[in-house]
């Protein structure tokens, strides 16, 4: 289990215990966190699980694989801390991770 904090666009914060091995997207969906749609179910095909990773965490999570940056072109208001949450797998190293959610996904 690792703690992940999701901060909604309006500032509302949710800290959830997520089983290692699940993705940050799956953790959000299973716990009904508003603001992550995940239309394609995690196949990196839709950019509706877009999050902004808190700056101090950004370089601590594994780098993007091919294709994620291309999908982020489609995301709503991406910035340099943008990631697709379906591509971030929760591990002990990420215990305490903080992600912020965009104002909408599309």
């Amino acid at each position: 289990m690792s703690k992940v904090t999701y901060i909604e666009h309006d500032g509302k914060s949710h800290t959830i215990d997520i089983q290692n091995g699940l993705t940050v997207m799956e953790g959000a969906i299973q716990n009904n966190i508003p603001g992550i749609d995940a239309d394609c179910g995690g196949s990196m095909a839709c950019a509706t699980c877009h999050v902004y990773v808190k700056e101090e965490w950004f370089n601590r999570i594994p780098k993007k694989e091919d294709g994620e940056e291309d999908m982020l072109d489609m995301a709503f208001e991406p910035n340099k801390f943008s990631r697709l949450s379906c591509q971030i797998t929760v591990t002990d190293d990420l215990d305490g991770l903080i992600v912020q959610l965009p104002s909408k996904q599309a």
Binding site: D39, C40, A45, C46, T48, M74, E77, P78
Partner: protein, 339 residues
């Protein structure tokens, strides 16, 4: 008005196989899809990605799967209504009257919604005021390119659509190409052409910029674009084009009186019927305890929904279960010779 035994909404894999099942048991059907091509998410989202969990097919791409399903429908005459979105559904006695955005009207006892995650719509710009200019100065697809002649056009996006149109329009218009990063994901040959045209002064390239604001009164006058490093630039422009791909939206389905839970439609697992008699939901768009969002589940759901349609389409006949391997009737429908 088109009368049919069943109307399928969505031409993805589930919709296609459901059509096959309907035709096998002797029912007519027609298919409506908002995309301009057959295949749904398989064709729009991952045509080249391999899929490994279709029963009896060790590996195939989204495009191959779609082509195989279309081939499987070859024995049948099925009318597709592409680039059409179903907008309204109304109960008229025992039938449903279904209207599309192009004015096509269907009358049918059965509607099977195989709509994936909804209909594909273009992704739009973030700033709210963009809405005011939509279809006047801001476009997400191009119907008539002649309107851009002699004007300044600012194109946003990094894929093939953005690059292709930048190249194409640069011969008769002043073109700004704006993208959120330095890398483009479009075809290399087109990208080379873009760089060539940039050198020749035909295209102005702005990378690491995104649209911040649009300005004008009635007519679009200029846009503000913001660099990653917060540098703000104002570009005078007559038109803005955005090519950010497509997004799936539930759209009008939400207004048909169906029980909806988190963008999916609640169904039973006997007929895959919704809370409305004669309206079924199959594939990714339906939900029930234990639902798996797999293509193979969609096939199963479609097969059962098709049998349920029989009752309403042929109230005076009794449905008889038959195998394709042995039924003469089915072989006749498939146009294959019995042995």
């Amino acid at each position: 008005m088109i009368k049919t035994d069943a109307l399928i909404i969505g031409a993805g894999p589930t919709g296609l196989f459901t059509a096959h099942q309907l035709k096998l048991i002797g029912l007519d059907c027609e298919i409506v899809d908002n995309l301009d091509k057959i295949g749904g998410q398989c064709i729009e989202l991952y045509p080249d990605k391999p899929i490994y969990d279709i029963p009896a097919i060790p590996e195939c791409t989204g495009e191959e799967l779609t082509n195989n399903l279309i081939n499987q429908l070859k024995p049948f005459d099925i009318k597709f209504h592409l680039s059409e979105r179903v907008d309204e559904v109304k109960k008229i006695n025992e039938n449903w009257e279904v209207k599309t955005n192009k004015g096509t009207i269907f009358l049918t006892p059965n509607i099977i919604i195989a709509g994936g995650v909804g209909s594909f719509e273009p992704r739009k710009f973030a700033p709210k005021e963009c809405q005011k200019y939509e279809d006047k100065s801001i476009f997400y697809s191009i119907k008539d390119k002649t309107i851009f002649s002699g004007k300044t056009v600012s194109i946003f996006g990094g894929g093939d659509s953005a690059l292709d149109w930048a190249v194409e329009l640069s011969s008769n218009s002043k073109v700004n190409l704006v993208h959120r990063r330095d890398e483009f994901r479009g075809a290399k040959s087109t990208l080379d052409k873009v760089y060539e045209l940039e050198k020749a002064g035909k295209i102005n390239l702005f990378t690491k910029y995104q649209l911040k604001a649009v300005k004008g009164n009635g007519n679009l006058k200029s846009i503000d674009i913001l660099h990653d490093n917060k540098d703000l630039k104002t570009l005078e422009t007559d038109f803005v084009l955005g090519f950010f791909g497509l997004i799936m939206q539930l759209g009008p389905i939400a207004n048909w009186g169906l029980n909806i839970d988190k963008k999916t439609i609640t169904v039973d697992t006997e007929k895959f019927e919704t809370n409305q008699k004669g309206i079924y939901a199959v594939g990714d768009i339906c939900s029930y305890p234990g639902k798996l969002k797999l293509i193979l589940s969609g096939f199963h759901e479609g097969a059962l929904a098709a049998r349920a349609c029989f009752k309403l389409a042929r109230p005076n006949e009794k449905y008889r279960f038959e195998f394709t391997t042995s039924s003469k009737t089915i072989k006749n429908r498939l146009g294959v010779k019995g042995d």
